[in-house]
Protein backbone atom coordinates (compact mmCIF):
# COMPACT_ATOMS: atom_id res chain seq x y z
CA UNK A 1 0.00 0.00 0.00
CA UNK A 2 1.40 3.40 -1.00
CA UNK A 3 1.36 5.89 1.87
CA UNK A 4 0.15 9.41 1.11
CA UNK A 5 2.66 12.11 1.92
CA UNK A 6 1.10 14.46 4.47
CA UNK A 7 1.07 18.24 4.13
CA UNK A 8 3.67 18.60 6.90
CA UNK A 9 5.97 15.96 5.43
CA UNK A 10 5.79 17.45 1.95
CA UNK A 11 6.45 20.96 3.22
CA UNK A 12 9.40 19.71 5.28
CA UNK A 13 10.85 17.77 2.34
CA UNK A 14 10.54 20.71 -0.06
CA UNK A 15 11.91 23.10 2.57
CA UNK A 16 15.01 20.96 3.02
CA UNK A 17 15.45 20.41 -0.72
CA UNK A 18 15.40 24.16 -1.40
CA UNK A 19 17.44 25.18 1.63
CA UNK A 20 20.70 25.58 -0.26
CA UNK A 21 19.56 27.52 -3.31
CA UNK A 22 22.24 30.14 -3.88
CA UNK A 23 22.71 33.10 -6.21
CA UNK A 24 24.85 32.27 -9.26
CA UNK A 25 28.51 33.31 -9.34
CA UNK A 26 28.94 36.95 -10.36
CA UNK A 27 25.52 37.94 -9.06
CA UNK A 28 26.92 40.60 -6.70
CA UNK A 29 28.90 42.21 -9.54
CA UNK A 30 25.83 42.18 -11.77
CA UNK A 31 23.66 43.83 -9.10
CA UNK A 32 26.26 46.49 -8.33
CA UNK A 33 26.69 47.23 -12.04
CA UNK A 34 22.94 47.81 -12.42
CA UNK A 35 22.91 50.02 -9.31
CA UNK A 36 25.90 52.14 -10.33
CA UNK A 37 24.93 52.42 -13.98
CA UNK A 38 21.20 51.67 -14.20
CA UNK A 39 19.57 50.91 -17.52
CA UNK A 40 16.86 53.49 -18.29
CA UNK A 41 13.43 52.24 -17.29
CA UNK A 42 10.42 52.37 -19.58
CA UNK A 43 9.31 55.52 -17.72
CA UNK A 44 12.68 57.19 -18.25
CA UNK A 45 12.44 56.48 -21.97
CA UNK A 46 8.85 57.76 -22.13
CA UNK A 47 9.79 60.90 -20.20
CA UNK A 48 12.69 61.59 -22.53
CA UNK A 49 10.52 61.11 -25.60
CA UNK A 50 7.73 63.13 -23.99
CA UNK A 51 10.06 66.00 -23.24
CA UNK A 52 10.98 66.26 -26.90
CA UNK A 53 7.32 65.99 -27.86
CA UNK A 54 6.68 69.07 -25.70
CA UNK A 55 9.03 71.23 -27.78
CA UNK A 56 6.82 71.43 -30.89
CA UNK A 57 3.77 71.69 -28.63
CA UNK A 58 5.30 74.72 -26.93
CA UNK A 59 6.54 76.19 -30.17
CA UNK A 60 3.19 76.01 -31.93
CA UNK A 61 1.41 78.83 -29.97
CA UNK A 62 4.56 80.95 -30.09
CA UNK A 63 4.85 80.45 -33.84
CA UNK A 64 1.18 81.26 -34.29
CA UNK A 65 1.59 84.47 -32.28
CA UNK A 66 4.55 85.53 -34.38
CA UNK A 67 2.61 84.89 -37.58
CA UNK A 68 -0.29 87.01 -36.31
CA UNK A 69 2.10 89.79 -35.33
CA UNK A 70 3.77 89.68 -38.72
CA UNK A 71 0.53 89.78 -40.65
CA UNK A 72 -0.67 92.55 -38.35
CA UNK A 73 -4.29 91.50 -38.47
CA UNK A 74 -5.03 92.29 -34.84
CA UNK A 75 -1.80 94.01 -33.85
CA UNK A 76 -2.54 97.14 -35.94
CA UNK A 77 -6.01 97.43 -34.42
CA UNK A 78 -4.60 97.10 -30.93
CA UNK A 79 -2.02 99.86 -31.57
CA UNK A 80 -4.70 102.11 -33.04
CA UNK A 81 -6.98 101.72 -30.01
CA UNK A 82 -4.11 102.24 -27.59
CA UNK A 83 -2.85 105.40 -29.26
CA UNK A 84 -6.32 106.92 -29.66
CA UNK A 85 -6.91 107.12 -25.90
CA UNK A 86 -6.74 110.83 -25.00
CA UNK A 87 -4.70 110.59 -21.84
CA UNK A 88 -1.82 108.94 -23.66
CA UNK A 89 1.00 111.31 -24.49
Amino acid sequence: MVEMETYDDRMKRLGEATQHVEPPPGFLTKVMASVEDPEPSMWDVLLRVGRWALVPAALTPATLGLVLLATGSWFDDAVLVATSVEWLP
Binding site: T6, Y7, V21, E22, P23, P25, M32
Partner: protein
Protein backbone atom coordinates in the same frame (compact mmCIF):
# COMPACT_ATOMS: atom_id res chain seq x y z
CA UNK B 1 26.27 59.23 -5.05
CA UNK B 2 29.12 58.73 -2.63
CA UNK B 3 31.68 55.97 -2.95
CA UNK B 4 31.02 55.10 0.69
CA UNK B 5 27.31 54.63 -0.03
CA UNK B 6 28.07 52.24 -2.87
CA UNK B 7 30.50 50.31 -0.70
CA UNK B 8 27.98 50.10 2.13
CA UNK B 9 25.29 48.91 -0.28
CA UNK B 10 27.68 46.31 -1.72
CA UNK B 11 28.11 44.93 1.81
CA UNK B 12 24.34 44.86 2.32
CA UNK B 13 23.88 42.96 -0.96
CA UNK B 14 26.68 40.51 -0.11
CA UNK B 15 25.23 39.74 3.32
CA UNK B 16 21.55 39.51 2.34
CA UNK B 17 21.67 38.00 -1.17
CA UNK B 18 21.84 34.30 -0.15
CA UNK B 19 18.71 34.41 2.03
CA UNK B 20 16.80 36.71 -0.32
CA UNK B 21 17.71 34.64 -3.38
CA UNK B 22 16.40 31.51 -1.66
CA UNK B 23 13.17 33.37 -0.80
CA UNK B 24 12.74 34.61 -4.39
CA UNK B 25 13.40 31.11 -5.78
CA UNK B 26 10.89 29.54 -3.38
CA UNK B 27 8.28 32.14 -4.32
CA UNK B 28 8.78 32.00 -8.08
CA UNK B 29 9.79 28.35 -8.43
CA UNK B 30 12.73 29.18 -10.66
CA UNK B 31 16.32 30.27 -10.08
CA UNK B 32 16.30 32.31 -13.29
CA UNK B 33 13.17 34.19 -12.28
CA UNK B 34 14.63 34.60 -8.78
CA UNK B 35 17.73 36.24 -10.24
CA UNK B 36 15.60 38.81 -12.10
CA UNK B 37 13.37 39.41 -9.08
CA UNK B 38 16.30 39.92 -6.75
CA UNK B 39 18.18 42.20 -9.11
CA UNK B 40 15.05 44.37 -9.57
CA UNK B 41 14.54 44.39 -5.81
CA UNK B 42 18.06 45.63 -5.08
CA UNK B 43 17.71 48.39 -7.68
CA UNK B 44 14.40 49.43 -6.04
CA UNK B 45 16.05 49.37 -2.61
CA UNK B 46 19.01 51.42 -3.84
CA UNK B 47 16.71 54.03 -5.42
CA UNK B 48 14.65 54.23 -2.24
CA UNK B 49 17.76 54.71 -0.10
CA UNK B 50 19.07 57.39 -2.49
CA UNK B 51 15.74 59.23 -2.34
CA UNK B 52 15.56 58.90 1.47
CA UNK B 53 12.45 56.73 1.22
CA UNK B 54 13.85 54.14 3.63
CA UNK B 55 12.77 55.63 6.93
CA UNK B 56 14.40 53.06 9.13
CA UNK B 57 11.09 52.20 10.82
CA UNK B 58 11.48 48.59 9.74
CA UNK B 59 14.72 46.68 10.09
CA UNK B 60 16.73 46.75 6.89
CA UNK B 61 16.42 43.00 6.39
CA UNK B 62 12.63 43.00 6.92
CA UNK B 63 12.32 45.91 4.51
CA UNK B 64 14.33 44.00 1.88
CA UNK B 65 12.16 40.91 2.45
CA UNK B 66 9.15 43.13 1.78
CA UNK B 67 10.57 44.47 -1.49
CA UNK B 68 11.58 40.99 -2.69
CA UNK B 69 8.20 39.48 -1.75
CA UNK B 70 6.27 42.23 -3.54
CA UNK B 71 8.48 41.97 -6.62
CA UNK B 72 8.09 38.17 -6.61
CA UNK B 73 4.29 38.51 -6.27
CA UNK B 74 4.32 40.80 -9.32
CA UNK B 75 6.40 38.18 -11.17
CA UNK B 76 3.95 35.43 -10.13
CA UNK B 77 1.02 37.50 -11.45
CA UNK B 78 2.88 38.04 -14.67
CA UNK B 79 3.68 34.29 -14.94
CA UNK B 80 0.03 33.44 -14.37
CA UNK B 81 -1.15 35.96 -16.94
CA UNK B 82 1.17 34.28 -19.42
CA UNK B 83 -0.15 30.89 -18.28
CA UNK B 84 3.29 29.89 -17.06
CA UNK B 85 2.98 27.58 -14.05
CA UNK B 86 5.49 25.54 -12.11
CA UNK B 87 5.11 22.65 -14.52
CA UNK B 88 6.07 24.81 -17.47
CA UNK B 89 9.15 26.10 -15.66
CA UNK B 90 10.76 22.73 -16.31
CA UNK B 91 12.49 24.17 -19.36
CA UNK B 92 14.61 26.38 -17.08
CA UNK B 93 18.17 25.18 -16.87
CA UNK B 94 19.60 24.99 -13.35
CA UNK B 95 21.89 27.89 -12.42
CA UNK B 96 25.62 27.19 -12.25
CA UNK B 97 26.40 25.05 -9.22
CA UNK B 98 22.71 24.32 -8.73
CA UNK B 99 21.77 20.70 -8.11
CA UNK B 100 19.18 19.29 -10.48
CA UNK B 101 17.28 18.03 -7.41
CA UNK B 102 16.96 21.59 -6.16
CA UNK B 103 15.52 22.71 -9.48
CA UNK B 104 13.04 19.84 -9.39
CA UNK B 105 12.05 20.70 -5.81
CA UNK B 106 11.51 24.36 -6.76
CA UNK B 107 9.32 23.34 -9.68
CA UNK B 108 7.35 20.93 -7.48
CA UNK B 109 6.84 23.71 -4.94
CA UNK B 110 5.69 26.13 -7.64
CA UNK B 111 3.23 23.59 -9.01
CA UNK B 112 1.93 22.68 -5.55
CA UNK B 113 1.40 26.29 -4.46
CA UNK B 114 0.59 27.53 -7.94
CA UNK B 115 -3.19 27.57 -7.55
CA UNK B 116 -3.16 29.60 -4.34
CA UNK B 117 -3.84 33.34 -4.56
CA UNK B 118 -0.50 35.21 -4.60
CA UNK B 119 -0.87 36.62 -1.07
CA UNK B 120 -1.60 33.15 0.41
CA UNK B 121 1.25 31.70 -1.63
CA UNK B 122 3.63 34.31 -0.18
CA UNK B 123 2.30 33.87 3.37
CA UNK B 124 2.74 30.09 3.32
CA UNK B 125 6.30 30.33 1.94
CA UNK B 126 7.28 32.94 4.54
CA UNK B 127 5.76 30.90 7.38
CA UNK B 128 6.48 27.27 6.52
CA UNK B 129 9.73 27.56 4.59
CA UNK B 130 11.33 30.77 5.86
CA UNK B 131 10.19 30.19 9.44
CA UNK B 132 8.92 33.73 10.01
CA UNK B 133 6.49 34.65 12.78
CA UNK B 134 3.05 36.03 11.93
CA UNK B 135 4.20 39.45 13.16
CA UNK B 136 7.14 39.42 10.76
CA UNK B 137 4.93 38.22 7.89
CA UNK B 138 2.43 40.99 8.65
CA UNK B 139 5.26 43.55 8.32
CA UNK B 140 6.50 41.98 5.09
CA UNK B 141 3.04 41.73 3.50
CA UNK B 142 1.86 45.06 4.91
CA UNK B 143 -1.26 43.68 6.58
CA UNK B 144 -2.47 42.83 10.09
CA UNK B 145 -1.49 39.69 11.98
CA UNK B 146 -5.13 38.62 11.86
CA UNK B 147 -5.08 38.86 8.08
CA UNK B 148 -1.90 36.77 7.98
CA UNK B 149 -3.50 34.06 10.14
CA UNK B 150 -6.51 34.04 7.84
CA UNK B 151 -4.33 33.66 4.74
CA UNK B 152 -2.41 30.80 6.39
CA UNK B 153 -5.58 28.95 7.47
CA UNK B 154 -7.05 29.22 3.98
CA UNK B 155 -3.84 28.20 2.24
CA UNK B 156 -3.33 25.17 4.51
CA UNK B 157 -6.96 24.11 4.05
CA UNK B 158 -6.57 24.26 0.27
CA UNK B 159 -3.26 22.35 0.29
CA UNK B 160 -4.42 19.72 2.81
CA UNK B 161 -7.67 19.27 0.90
CA UNK B 162 -5.71 18.72 -2.26
CA UNK B 163 -3.44 16.17 -0.52
CA UNK B 164 -6.40 14.21 0.84
CA UNK B 165 -7.92 14.10 -2.63
CA UNK B 166 -4.59 12.87 -3.92
Amino acid sequence: MGTGDVQAFREIVASTAPALFRLAARLTGSTQEAEDVLQDSYVKAWNAIEQDRFEGRAQLETWLYRIVTNTAIDALRSQRRRGRTGASLSADTPAAGQAADTGAALRELATWLGDLPEDQHAAIVLKELEGMTSTEIATVLGCSEGAVEQKLVRARATLRGRASRG
